[in-house]
């Protein structure tokens, strides 16, 4: 092959490389990443449905910057190592904005990829403090309050409403659960008057939690605070009730939603959890819930509304910036006020939501109901 042919080949190949993104530019590619299968799928799917409905609404109104939105999906099963692969694939497939991920551990791992690629990431459910408060994730925003706010609410409720003196803090050793319990421990220590009688991690998915339940019983804790998700919580709650241990049980948004009552059945009765504020009196929220029921034949899941809001915020920021370029988009994110189904919301300088928070719920007759 002579030199001319060689350079021609190289030239043609490199033109194909440059041309590839050009073909796709008549739509805006938004990716939804999170757990769409696996045991945490109920959370991921609830958020995805919110995003899907928001995309439909936006496309009906003419899209973003006059272009239709095309939704791409990535399934990370809430595992950090899978999340990195998913992120790499989404970026190389040309995603321009990302909604996700669902779990904090996966989000932290995946955001290394998005940050380097200069893509805005917005999550409907990742609550770990490190994502916004350390400044290491400048491209990250979220439509749910952070764990610090949640821990403050949980500890305050435990001390002032439940009036407990001894608490046991149990977590699943993960970024989300352990982080949450460390925040709770700090908050209790600052408040004083409440003894932390136990602070332990358990192996998630273990066969049996009898020994830790015996330990809780011996510690005479009046309240068990759980940092983790619903499947392990269900096992521990059942053993606590079966072993007649006299203690209350409280978790965060990891056990909020229908998943825990479905899994633990009658044993879930009386369990406390914090979750996003109940905004069901908002007319937009009601319209969306009705739309969800018509489309999927069931009530929306935990992160449906926050997922919808994520997509709304991205669209609003892009319209405001007039471009999808990273710096302009990022600057616009801090400026916008979104008329969301949770009410008007915006973002503070860390990327945390302004205008929404958490409430405390309790399982009564098989459903979470607000108690504070």
């Amino acid at each position: 092959m002579n030199t001319f042919l060689k350079s021609l080949t190289v030239g043609v190949l490199s033109m194909m490389l440059f041309a590839a993104p050009g073909f796709a530019s008549d739509t805006i590619k938004v990716a939804n990443a999170g757990a769409l299968s696996g045991d945490l799928a109920p959370y991921g799917i609830s958020a995805l449905r919110g995003v899907e409905m928001a995309v439909e609404d936006i496309n009906e109104q003419g899209g973003i910057l006059g272009k239709k939105v095309e939704l791409m999906l990535g399934d990370d099963v809430c595992k950090p190592e899978v999340a990195v692969n998913v992120a790499t694939k989404l970026v190389s497939d040309g995603a321009q904005m990302i909604v996700g991920h669902v779990c904090s551990g996966a989000t932290i791992a995946a955001n290394k990829i998005y940050k380097d690629a200069g893509i805005i990431l917005i999550s409907s459910s990742a609550t770990n403090d490190d994502l916004t408060l350390t400044g290491e994730h400048p491209n990250f925003f979220r439509t749910i309050s952070n764990d610090g706010a949640q821990a403050a609410l949980m500890t305050d409720f435990a001390k002032n409403e439940l009036k407990v003196k001894k608490v046991a803090l149990i977590h699943d050793k993960g970024d989300y659960g352990k982080g949450q319990m460390e925040l709770a421990r700090n908050a209790f220590e600052k408040m004083g008057d409440v003894d932390i009688v136990l602070f332990e991690g358990v192996t998630t998915g273990a066969m049996d939690y009898s020994a830790i339940v015996s330990k809780i019983k011996r510690s005479e804790a009046e309240l068990v605070m759980w940092g983790g998700y619903h499947s392990d919580a269900s096992k521990i709650i059942q053993l606590i009730k079966k072993k007649r241990v006299d203690t209350l049980f409280m978790g965060a948004d990891g056990i909020y939603g229908d998943n825990l009552p479905n899994l633990a059945g009658e044993f879930a009765e009386g369990v406390y959890a914090t979750g996003p504020n109940d905004t069901s009196s908002n007319p937009k929220h009601q319209a969306l819930t009705k739309g969800h029921q018509e489309k999927y034949g069931e009530d929306p899941g935990t992160f449906f509304i926050t997922g919808y809001t994520c997509m709304q915020a991205l669209a609003a920021a892009a319209e405001k910036a007039g471009t999808l370029e990273y710096e302009a988009m990022r600057a616009a994110m801090f400026d916008i006020t979104v008329d969301s189904p949770m009410g008007p919301i915006g973002f503070d300088k860390n990327g945390d939501i302004v205008g929404a928070g958490f409430s405390v719920y309790r399982v009564i007759d098989g459903k979470y109901q607000q108690v504070n």
């Binding site: 299968s37 696996g38 045991d39 799928a41 109920p42 050793k173 332990e200 991690g201 358990v202 192996t203 998915g205 273990a206 066969m207 049996d208 939690y209 009898s210 020994a211 830790i212 015996s214 330990k215 019983k217 011996r218 499947s231 269900s234 096992k235 059942q238 053993l239 079966k242 072993k243 007649r244 241990v245 479905n262 899994l263 633990a264 059945g265 044993f267």
Partner: protein, 327 residues
């Protein structure tokens, strides 16, 4: 120098012993609860470990798909119980049928796995059979995940809270005591099977010398199949019992349980049936003590550390035979 080290050693042991005795005397009920919790856990390990150890004893294969057989047992019981529950059948009948179906299904799976994945490789290098076993394990996990669901499923306890057990329920629940008693019964039956029946004698003969057994007219293929079936049956019982205990299952429960049971089998001396039971109880109780008296964070680290220690100081396990084997 020697005296100093002996003195230090003695005082160290003395101090640990003193605190241990003081702890037990001050909180005897707590100690008792941990023992019972450990026995429950150990019983489940034992029901699974039997399958590992019997199969190893006869064909020197670590059947890594065994944990999945246990999971399939629990899944079958859940499906049967749900369907019969919808038809409004009597609870006692449901319990019996759920166990029967779980055992039959698991046995069928164990039998088929052996025929498909191990029999063609019987004369192949041992590594091939091992890889085949790992492949089978992954296949069964993914098959159940796709055919059923990746979510956790609620498993309503087939064993109710007994009224008469109420005074003791805060120490050990009805389900836990059922697990321990069932395991003891299964062990006795298995002991009788191996000791006195024709197939049991054939199993022992095959384990000692496969070629000689075949020369004497024992159908070695049938014996191997029977071993897989018996191991699968005990694993299925374990699967149903643990699901009753924790109230939920998914496709992945077999992995960790299988791994722990495997450790228990190695701990006791793989190939030895009393060894598997002893190893399981030792592992269950020491895990329970470790969580109870130290930190539950390191429970699994501890379990694997025991394994490493045993393998260093007693490579053939607590009750294992001491003949060297080429691997």
């Amino acid at each position: 120098m020697r005296w100093i080290s002996i003195l230090l050693g003695l005082s160290g042991t003395g101090a640990v012993g003193f605190f241990a005795v003081r702890e037990i005397i001050m909180y005897p009920m707590y100690f008792f609860e941990l023992v019972l919790g450990g026995l429950t856990r150990g019983s489940i390990y034992a029901l699974i470990a039997l399958g590992y150890t019997m199969v190893y004893g006869i064909i020197q294969l670590i059947n890594f798909a065994h944990g999945e057989i246990y999971m399939i047992g629990a899944m079958t019981a859940l499906i049967v119980a749900t369907v019969l529950g919808m038809w409004g059948w009597n609870t006692a009948v449901i319990v019996i049928l759920a166990f029967v179906f779980a055992i039959v299904y698991s046995c069928a799976y164990g039998f088929t796995v052996e025929k498909i994945a191990y029999k063609p490789l019987r004369n192949a290098p041992r590594l091939s059979a091992l890889i085949s076993a790992i492949g089978m394990s992954l296949f069964l996990q993914n098959y159940v995940m796709l055919a059923q669901t990746p979510d956790y499923l609620p498993f309503e306890s087939l064993i109710p809270d007994f009224q008469f057990w109420e005074p003791f329920a805060h120490i050990i629940t009805s389900v836990e005591i059922t697990i321990i008693i069932t395991t003891v019964i299964v062990m006795i039956l298995l002991g009788l099977l191996i000791k006195f029946t024709r197939i049991g004698k054939a199993m022992r003969a095959t384990a000692q010398d496969k070629v000689m057994a075949a020369l004497l007219g024992i159908n070695v293929n049938n014996v191997i199949s029977a071993t897989f079936v018996v191991g699968s049956a005990t694993a299925a019982i374990g699967g149903v019992l643990i699901a009753c205990h924790v109230g939920q299952i998914n496709f992945y429960i077999g992995f960790l349980a299988g791994l722990k049971a495997f450790i228990a089998a190695v701990l006791g001396g793989i190939g030895s049936i009393p060894g598997a039971v002893l190893g399981s109880l030792v592992l269950g109780i020491s895990e329970s003590f470790f969580t109870g008296y130290f930190w539950s964070e390191y429970e699994d680290v501890f379990a694997f550390a025991i394994l490493v220690l045993i393998l260093i100081f007693r490579p053939s396990g607590i009750l294992g035979r001491h003949d060297t084997q080429k691997v």
